[in-house]
Symmetry: C2
Subunit: 360 residues, 2 copies
DNA sequence: CTTAGCACTCCCGTTTCCTGAGTGCTAAAG
DNA sequence: CTTTAGCACTCAGGAAACGGGAGTGCTAAG
C-alpha cells in the first residue's frame, strides 16, 4: 500500500522527532512538528494506520509511537532530506585530512577518530585489501649479520623487516638473492608461493645458508596478514552516552563485538563504489548489530582497491547528517589515496538502500 | 602504629574478600575466611581499630568494611601472597608470544590483547620511545617518478615511505642523495635537523629538484611521531562487566580517558627496570584514574629502550594474580626484544610500591 | 582481653499509590 | 467517507511507605 502525502509527513515527523529526543512521539507532538492543520484525533487515526502497516510501533498501549526498521528504511530511502554540509564542516574535514601524516595505518586511525568526532558515534575503518601480490623485493645490507627486507606490494604498500642472522652473509649474496626474488616472485600472491619455488630460488641464488627461506617466510607472512583486511575502531565510549546503551550489558556486547576485527571485516560485503550504504537494525547480518544501525561509505584506496569508513549507532540515528559526513570524508580519502580522479559526482550523497529484506 | 599479626590477618581477609565479592565484608565473613579462633565481637573490635587507623572504611553505619587505598597499599606491599603462575598459564603465555608475528606495532597490540584475556581487565601497552636517532637512510629507485625511503632508526625500527614525485628524478641522483644523507644525518635526532643542514645536503647532492626536502620531511616526521610513544589499549569493554562500572557515566569517563594515547603516555613516569608497579586509586596522578588501579610492568625493548605493559581495573583488583601475569609477560617480551639476556631474576615478581603519598 | 547479649542503624527490595501522557472508540458534524 | 470533539481507559514510572536483615557499637560479665 502506497502511503498518502500526509502519512509520509507524519512518518517523517515521528522519525525525526524520535531521533531528536529518543522518546516515543505522540499525536500532539506530531501536530506541532508537522504544522499540519488537522486535529490530533486525525493524527491518531493516521498513526494507527501507520502502525497497522508496520512502519511504527508502540512500546506499550498508552505511549506514543516509535519507528520500526521498516519505518526507518522508508525514511532513509524516500523521506530524508539531503543534508548539505556547512562550509565550516567541509573546511574542517579537509583541513584534518590534509594534516594527517603518511603511513596508511595511522592515517586510517586518524580518519576514524575524525569520523567519531564529527558524528559522535563509534567509527570504523576497513582497509579492504584485495589479496596483494609482490611487486618488488629489495634487500639492504647492514652488516654481516643483519639486513633489511623491503617489500613492495600492489597497492603501493611497503613492508619491511630487519633480520638478524645467527651467521654471516655477504652483500653479494643479498644482491643475488634480491635479483632472483624479483625474477621469481613478482606478481605472485601468497598461495602461489610453494616450497618448490622457494627451493629453486635458493638454488638459483646459490644460497647455502638458508637466507632464502627467511625472506620467503617474511613474504608469506606479510601477504597473509595483509589479506586479513586492516580494521580499526574508535570512539566506542561514545555509545555509553546514548540512552539506548545505558544498560551496561547491551553496551558491553556491542563494544566487544566491535573490538574484534574479524567481525568488522565481515561488513566488507560492501556498498558499491562511491555511495553510502545504510544498514538498519535487523537488516544487519550479525546478531550483535540487530538493534543498531551501520552507515558505511566506501572510498577508492588506489590500485583499484576499496576501503570502507563507517559508523555504528542506535537505529535512532541522524542518518542524513551521518551519511553526508561519511560521504564527504570518503570522497576526500579517495582524492588523497585514489589513483585517478574520482568518478563524477563522487563524494555526493547517493544512498544505496540495503536489501529491504530483513534478515530473519 | 604497627599492626598486630591478627590485625594483618583480618586486613588481608577483608581485602581478599572484597576482591572476590565486591561486597563489604562483615565480622562473620572475616571469621569464616581467616579461621581465627576468636568471636565475632573481637573481630568487630579489631575492625573498628583498623577503621580508626584508616585501613578500612564503612560505606554506611551498618555495613561491613571495605579497604581504603591505604589498606590496599599495605596489602600489596606486605600481605599479598606471591602468586606463582601455573605451568599451563606460563605455557600459554609463551605459546602466544611465540606465535605473534613480526612488526612491533602489531606485536604490542597482540600482547595487549593477551593481557586483557589473561586478566580480564583493559590492558595498555606503551612503547617507550627514547627519542630515536637516524642510523641509516636508503633510497630504492622504482621509476623516474617514484622511490621508496627506507629509514633505519636506533632501536632497529625500520620505517618506510613510498614517494611519488610530480617530476622525474634519476637513479644516480638517489644514490648520491642516499650517500649524502648517510654522511650528514647519521646519529641525529629530530631537533638537530635544521633547515641549514637540509640546504647544505641539497647542495652536496646536487639536487636541484627538491627531492632532498621530501626526504628530510619524512625523517623529521618519523622522528617526531616515534617520539610520541606508541600507546595502545584493548579490552575496554571488560570494564562494563564489573559492578563498579555499572554506571555508564563512570565507565564512559574512564574509557574515554584511556582512548587518548596522550594520557597513556603520561603513565610513562615509569617503574624501574624489571619490576612491577602498582598504583592504587588516589595514588594516580590523573583524576580519571583516581578510583581505579593501574598495574604496570616494564620490559626491555632492546637498544636500552623500555616499554610498559599494564592493566587498568577497579581498586578491588586481584593484584597478586595480575602482577604475576604482567611480570611474566614483560619478562617474555624482554627476552623477545631485548638486546642482551635479561638481568638475573628478571620476570620474577618484585613489587615496587608507588609512593605511598596519596596525591591530594 | 575476650565474649555474649542486645538495642540500634540503615540499606535495599517490595508493595502501594498516584499522576499524567497518550491512546482508541464513539458519535456527531462537515 | 473524513474529520473532530469528548471521554473512558491503560499503563509507565516516580514517590512514599514498609519490613526484613545484615551488621554495627556498646555494655557488662567472664
Amino acid at each position: 500500500m502506497e502511503l498518502t502525502g500526509r502519512q509520509k509527513k507524519i512518518l517523517r515527523a515521528v522519525v525525526e522527532g524520535y531521533i531528536d529526543t529518543a522518546e516515543p512521539i505522540g499525536s500532539h507532538t506530531v501536530l506541532a512538528r508537522t504544522g499540519l492543520t488537522c486535529s490530533s484525533a486525525t493524527i491518531r487515526n493516521e498513526l494507527a494506520a501507520l502502525t497497522r502497516e508496520g512502519y511504527l510501533e508502540q512500546p506499550h498501549t498508552s505511549a506514543g509511537r516509535i519507528p520500526t526498521a521498516k519505518g526507518y528504511r522508508l525514511y532513509v530511502n524516500e523521506l530524508m532530506m539531503e543534508r548539505e554540509l556547512s562550509h565550516s564542516e567541509t573546511e574542517e574535514i579537509n583541513r584534518k585530512l590534509q594534516s594527517t601524516p603518511a603511513g596508511t595505518d595511522k592515517l586510517m586511525a586518524d580518519v576514524g577518530k575524525m569520523a567519531t568526532e564529527l558524528t559522535s558515534y563509534p567509527a570504523l575503518t576497513i582497509s579492504a585489501a584485495a589479496s596483494a601480490t609482490v611487486k618488488r623485493v629489495d634487500l639492504i645490507y647492514l652488516d654481516p649479520n643483519s639486513f633489511i627486507i623491503v617489500l613492495l606490494l600492489t597497492g603501493d604498500t611497503v613492508k619491511n623487516k630487519l633480520v638478524h642472522l645467527p651467521f654471516s652473509s655477504t652483500e653479494t649474496l643479498l644482491r643475488r638473492l634480491s635479483a632472483v626474488f624479483n625474477a621469481n616472485f613478482t606478481g605472485l600472491s601468497e598461495e602461489r608461493i610453494t616450497p618448490e619455488l622457494i627451493a629453486s630460488t635458493e638454488r638459483a641464488a646459490g644460497d647455502t645458508m638458508g637466507v632464502t627461506s627467511v625472506i620467503a617466510g617474511f613474504l608469506i607472512e606479510t601477504l597473509m596478514t595483509s589479506k586479513g583486511a586492516g580494521a580499526n575502531v574508535s570512539g566506542e565510549a561514545n555509545l555509553l552516552k546514548l540512552p539506548e546503551f545505558q544498560n551496561p550489558d547491551k553496551a558491553h556486547r556491542l563494544i566487544n563485538y566491535l573490538s574484534d576485527s574479524q567481525n568488522l571485516s565481515a561488513l566488507t560485503a560492501a556498498p558499491d563504489f562511491g555511495d553510502v550504504k545504510v544498514l538498519i537494525g535487523p537488516e544487519n547480518a550479525a546478531l550483535e548489530l540487530r538493534d543498531s544501525s551501520v552507515v558505511l561509505a566506501s572510498y577508492d584506496a588506489g590500485d583499484g582497491m576499496r576501503g570502507l569508513i563507517g559508523v555504528v549507532g542506535p537505529t535512532r540515528m541522524d542518518y542524513s547528517a551521518v551519511a553526508a559526513k561519511l560521504a564527504y570524508i570518503a570522497g576526500g580519502l579517495s582524492r588523497l589515496l585514489g589513483a585517478g580522479s574520482p568518478p563524477a559526482g563522487f563524494g555526493k550523497l547517493m544512498i544505496k538502500g540495503g536489501d529491504s529484506d530483513v534478515q530473519k
